[in-house]
C-alpha cells in the first residue's frame, strides 16, 4: 500500500494538482459523451469497408438524433470495367427494401486527360441521371472507369431523414475518374441534389454500383448537429 501511495503522490504536483502524465488512458475511451459546448458537431457513427461487396448498407443510426447525416465515400472502386454508376437509394422499413420515389437534378463538369474536351453539362433528364419520382437507384457518379488506380470519392448529405412531415432533401458532390472509349480517362465533378418524395421517416441507406461489385473503398456515416 505504501508503494501505491508513493506512486499516487508522484502523479500530483507539489500543489496537489494531477499531472498530465497521471492520466493513464490517453485516448480516454471510456468517455462517450461530452457537453454540447465541448463536443464536436460532427460525429462519426459508423464505418464500412468494401471487399468485393455487392452493396454497403447503413441500417442503423439514421433517426432523429441528428439534424443532418453525411456519408463520405473514400476511394470507392468498381469491379465492372466500363460505365460504372455509383448509386444510392433509401428505405423506410429499416433496409428490408430500397425504392423511395426520388426527384433530382444532376450535372457535371468534365475534362479529358488528353484535353480533347471540357464542359459543364446538365444530366438531369430521366434518360440520364436525373429522376422524376422514380424509385430506381439514384446515380451519384457515372461513366466511371475501373482501371486499377481509378476510383470515386465524395460525400452525400441527407437532411432531416426522420421527419414525418416533409420530403427529405439530399445534396452530393463526387469526384471520379471517367473513361471514354475515344479519349480515355477524364475528370468528373458530379453534383446531384434532390429529395425523397415521402413523408415517411427514412431509416436506412444503401450504396452500390449499378453493375458489379464494390471492390474496394470505405464509406463513413456522420451525424451532424446544428444546435
Amino acid at each position: 500500500m505504501g508503494t501505491r501511495i508513493t506512486s499516487l503522490a508522484n502523479n500530483f504536483d507539489t500543489t496537489g494538482k494531477l499531472k498530465a502524465a497521471g492520466i493513464n488512458n490517453a485516448s480516454l475511451s471510456g468517455i462517450t459523451a461530452l457537453p454540447s459546448g465541448v463536443a464536436g458537431k460532427m460525429t462519426l457513427l459508423s464505418t464500412q469497408t468494401a471487399s468485393s461487396s455487392s452493396s454497403l448498407s447503413f441500417t442503423s443510426g439514421i433517426d432523429s438524433t441528428y439534424d443532418a447525416y453525411c456519408f463520405k465515400y473514400i476511394a470507392v472502386h468498381p469491379s465492372n470495367s466500363t460505365d460504372a454508376q455509383w448509386t444510392f437509394q433509401a428505405s423506410t422499413d429499416g433496409g428490408s427494401s430500397y425504392g423511395v420515389a426520388v426527384v433530382s437534378t444532376n450535372f457535371r463538369a468534365y475534362h479529358f486527360e488528353n484535353d480533347a474536351g471540357a464542359s459543364l453539362q446538365s444530366r438531369s433528364a430521366d434518360s440520364e441521371e436525373g429522376r422524376s419520382n422514380e424509385t430506381t437507384y439514384q446515380p451519384l457518379g457515372y461513366q466511371g472507369g475501373a482501371v486499377a488506380d481509378e476510383n470515386c470519392s465524395g460525400e452525400l448529405w441527407l437532411y432531416n431523414p426522420s421527419s414525418t412531415t416533409y420530403v427529405k432533401h439530399f445534396l452530393s458532390r463526387n469526384a471520379l475518374v471517367g473513361y471514354d472509349s475515344g479519349n480515355g480517362g477524364f475528370q468528373q465533378d458530379v453534383h446531384c441534389a434532390g429529395y425523397f418524395n415521402t413523408t415517411s421517416a427514412i431509416d436506412a441507406i444503401d450504396f452500390k454500383f449499378a453493375t458489379g461489385n464494390i471492390d474496394d473503398g470505405t464509406i463513413k456515416l456522420y451525424g451532424v448537429s446544428t444546435s
Binding site: 501511495i5 499516487l8 503522490a9 500530483f12 504536483d13 507539489t14 500543489t15 496537489g16 494538482k17 494531477l18 499531472k19 498530465a20 502524465a21 492520466i23 490517453a26 485516448s27 480516454l28 475511451s29 468517455i31 462517450t32 459523451a33 461530452l34 463536443a39 464536436g40 458537431k41 460532427m42 460525429t43 462519426l44 463520405k72 473514400i74 476511394a75 472502386h77 463538369a109 468534365y110 475534362h111 479529358f112 486527360e113 488528353n114 484535353d115 471540357a118 464542359s119 459543364l120 488506380d149 481509378e150 476510383n151 470519392s153 465524395g154 460525400e155 458532390r173 469526384a175 471520379l176 475518374v177 480517362g185 477524364f186 475528370q187 468528373q188 465533378d189 474496394d216 470505405t218 456522420y222
Partner: protein
C-alpha cells in the same frame, strides 16, 4: 509528505471524486484521442504575411483518409493572380504532381451588369504539373479569397488522389465581381502525397490563414 498528502487530499471531494480544479492541464494536451470528441481535428494552422507560399509538409499521411484545408481571406500582393494548389510526393522537396481538373464558376458583378454560370477552360488542367487553380482574387485592399478544399486518401499507393474545392472570391481589379468557384480533379499518381503547397500564381500571399484538418 504530510503537506503533499494534504494537498492531494484537497484535490478530491469528500466522496473521493477528483475535483475539476485538481486537473493541472485544463487543455489536456497529452490526450491524443477522445472517443466522444468531434470528427474534425485541427492539425495545423498557418498565417500568411507577405509569404511566397504556404506549405504543409507534415501531418499528411495515413492517419486520416480525408483532409480539409480551409482558406480564410487569402489576399494577394499582385493584380488578379490565380490561387493554386500544388502537391509533393517527397515531403515538399519538390512539387509537380501530374493533375487533371475541372473548373467552373458562377459570377455576379456588383453593378448587376454581368452574371453567368460557365465552364472556364483557361483554368482547368489536363495532365499538367504546374499546379491546380482553385480560384483567384483581386488585390485591392478589401478583396480576398476564402473557401474549402477536401483532399481524399492522399497516402494511397493504389489509387489516384481526388480533391474537390469551392471558393468564394472577390475579384474586382476592373469591375467588382463575386465569384463562386468549383474546382475538382485528381493527382494522377499512385505514389503517396505527403505535402501540399498553396500560392498565388504571381506575387505573395500578403495575408490570410489556412487551416488543415484531419477528418476522423
Amino acid at each position: 509528505m504530510g503537506q503533499a498528502t494534504r494537498n492531494i487530499a484537497n484535490s478530491f471531494t469528500t466522496s473521493g471524486v477528483i475535483t475539476s480544479s485538481a486537473v493541472n492541464n485544463t487543455s489536456l494536451g497529452n490526450i491524443t484521442d477522445l472517443s466522444a470528441g468531434g470528427s474534425l481535428i485541427l492539425l495545423s494552422e498557418q498565417t500568411a504575411s507577405a509569404s511566397s507560399s504556404i506549405s504543409f509538409t507534415s501531418g499528411i499521411d495515413s492517419t486520416y483518409d480525408e483532409y480539409w484545408f480551409i482558406f480564410n481571406q487569402c489576399h494577394p500582393s499582385n493584380i488578379g493572380p490565380n490561387f493554386d494548389f500544388h502537391t509533393s510526393t517527397n515531403g515538399g522537396s519538390s512539387y509537380g504532381t501530374t493533375a487533371t481538373s475541372t473548373f467552373f464558376v458562377a459570377y455576379q458583378g456588383e453593378g448587376g451588369a454581368s452574371s453567368a454560370l460557365t465552364y472556364d477552360t483557361g483554368n482547368d488542367e489536363a495532365q499538367t504539373t504546374v499546379g491546380v487553380t482553385l480560384g483567384g482574387s483581386g488585390y485591392l485592399n478589401d478583396e480576398s479569397a476564402s473557401g474549402i478544399l477536401k483532399f481524399y486518401n492522399p497516402s494511397s499507393t493504389t489509387y489516384v488522389k481526388h480533391f474537390i474545392s469551392q471558393m468564394s472570391v472577390t475579384h474586382g481589379n476592373y469591375t467588382y465581381e463575386c465569384q463562386n468557384i468549383f474546382s475538382a480533379g485528381y493527382f494522377n499518381t499512385t505514389s503517396a502525397i505527403d505535402a501540399v503547397k498553396f500560392q498565388f500564381s504571381a506575387g505573395n500571399v500578403d495575408a490570410g490563414t489556412i487551416q488543415m484538418f484531419g477528418v476522423k
